[in-house]
Symmetry: C2
Subunit: 321 residues, 2 copies
């Protein structure tokens, strides 16, 4: 059994990555406080380097490698924020990064990864093809595989977002975070250990494997997730499940309509560009008030990498606020 | 001749309004620094109450009234950010606000003004009709007219944005601000007096009355402005011209294509919703580098009240970055 990360691991990760990342600002809105019925402080990881919290874990992993490990570079598979984050992290350390990307990934995501200096290796858009291609790259280059979330270094890095939020707003009672693979949610669960603060993991109802996993006590498969929150379509990781389960983290579900409405609130009221995954905590706060047992709430906006056209299409298909 | 505001007036205004406004955060972007060739710190007044810097002037004006003046309320004409700002300011003091709004103003702007508790008075969409209706309202209610920019209190309030920016980033050499009526630009020109910092007023080339006014030495009329920067279609005010002229402020012009590209950079890179008027300083920085005689630049994002549909339409009609 893998050793699970502790608060000390998070502190060490923060010391390691802090010189290279943004200390992202926090935001509040009277309108949203009135809608939710509590004071909500949002931490804007959409303003983080690479447009998402992912750099925290990727950079912690890259900076934790010894010289010999680092020399051959790092590799991963990703069509999203983790690939870009690992590309940036490798650039910071000055080592190669190999990102296995499905052929159907959006051109803009490919361009970002290349722009950060990484090499792209194409693969067919299946899990089997992706894993085979990654194994091939690792065998050929000797690169170190950095997984997107099911990893102690990644969890410890992600949890630094919650450490910072506590420094910025010390009197929070609850933290709401999105849950997909569970890197951020489990990192935050570690961050609050011993503090009396509770973590609520917000998940699309249309991709509710974390909800089912925690309810049943063992990891449940993801079943054909049909959610606009593209960052949360991944199945829950093993380490992540272990941490969430032991920490008694509650899952709150959000409908697609609520996720779109929350994304729109960020755009119109907070003037922030938030990807739908990052709006899931607000969506759940608006839709699942029974989980809100606090008056001073923190919520992490996980990312802001969204295509304007896709955003507008989502708004058109949903009723206005 | 009206007495022009001084730095002391700005400090007094700041002390007056500070308890009620947001100290808006600042933002930087490596991508933008590379494009511009200097370090640019943006002050996000799009995140200000009401979504624009306008609350600073409106609130300073409202809080400067004595009890007798305030009792009858305040009035103005506006279809944009100033009307919403005056509505918020009047609400803070607990006095009535009457906003004369042209019948063709967008429903969303009307809804915002009503939502802040002000009364809307409709008028035909001409300058003559607007002024007649405002005079009528003032005569009927005894309300105090708060003009949108050509006013000492408004200028002093607007200039507090620059005072805050100096507190946040003390070593700036230049400040770039949008210029329309000139409230913000002239306020910033006052704020830098005696500091050695210069102010560059950024203006759409398609609405270049400030440029022509300062070049000719007297206020030039606005001629049928056809710019997407709807907040900058207003003619330059008298007091504002006086201050800009005496302060030897330079005007830098921006094309419509550059304004749209800059708005898109804010959306995609800084994850900020910025209205086109607020993107004009960045547009001018990208397009008129000859005015950039500094390595540490500040720029004020004046507002973020933009319709997503309109934004997308603008992006579609322009080439991508």
């Amino acid at each position: 059994m893998t050793r699970l990360p502790t608060v000390d691991d998070l502190r060490a990760a923060h010391a390691r990555i802090r010189p290279y990342i943004h200390r992202t600002p926090t935001f509040t809105s009277r309108t949203i406080d009135e809608l939710v019925g509590a004071t909500v402080t949002f931490k804007g990881e959409n303003l983080q380097r690479g447009g998402a919290f992912k750099i925290r874990g990727a950079l912690n992993a890259v900076l934790s490698l010894n010289e010999a490990q680092a020399a051959a570079g790092v590799a991963t598979h990703s069509s999203g924020n983790h690939g870009a984050a690992l590309a940036i992290a490798a650039g910071i350390r000055g080592i190669p990064a190999y990102i296995v990307v499905p052929v159907n990934a959006p051109a803009v995501k490919r361009a970002a990864i290349v722009g950060y200096g990484a090499s792209i290796i194409d693969c067919e858009a299946t899990v089997a093809a992706r894993e085979a291609k990654l194994a091939d790259v690792v065998a050929r280059t000797g690169a170190h595989f950095v997984p997107p979330y099911d990893d102690v270094c990644i969890v410890a890095g992600a949890g630094t977002a919650a450490l910072e939020l506590f420094e910025q707003v010390p009197d929070l009672e609850q933290i709401w975070v999105p849950v997909g693979g569970g890197g951020l949610a489990s990192g935050c669960a570690v961050a609050v250990q011993g503090s009396g603060v509770s973590v609520i993991a917000a998940e699309p109802a249309a991709a509710d494997d974390a909800y089912r996993s925690l309810a049943s006590g063992c990891v449940q498969p993801m079943q054909n997730p049909q959610t606009i929150a593209d960052g949360l379509r991944t199945p829950l990781g093993r380490i992540n499940f272990e941490i969430l389960s032991r920490s008694h983290v509650t899952v709150a579900l959000a409908s697609e309509a609520a996720i779109i409405a929350a994304t729109r609130l960020f755009f119109e009221r907070l003037k922030l560009v938030v990807e739908p995954s990052g709006a899931v905590p607000l969506a759940a706060l608006l839709e699942a008030p029974s989980a809100r047992k606090a008056r001073r709430i923190g919520a992490i906006i996980s990312g802001g990498n969204v295509d304007l056209e896709a955003l507008l299409q989502a708004f058109k298909n949903a009723p206005a606020n």
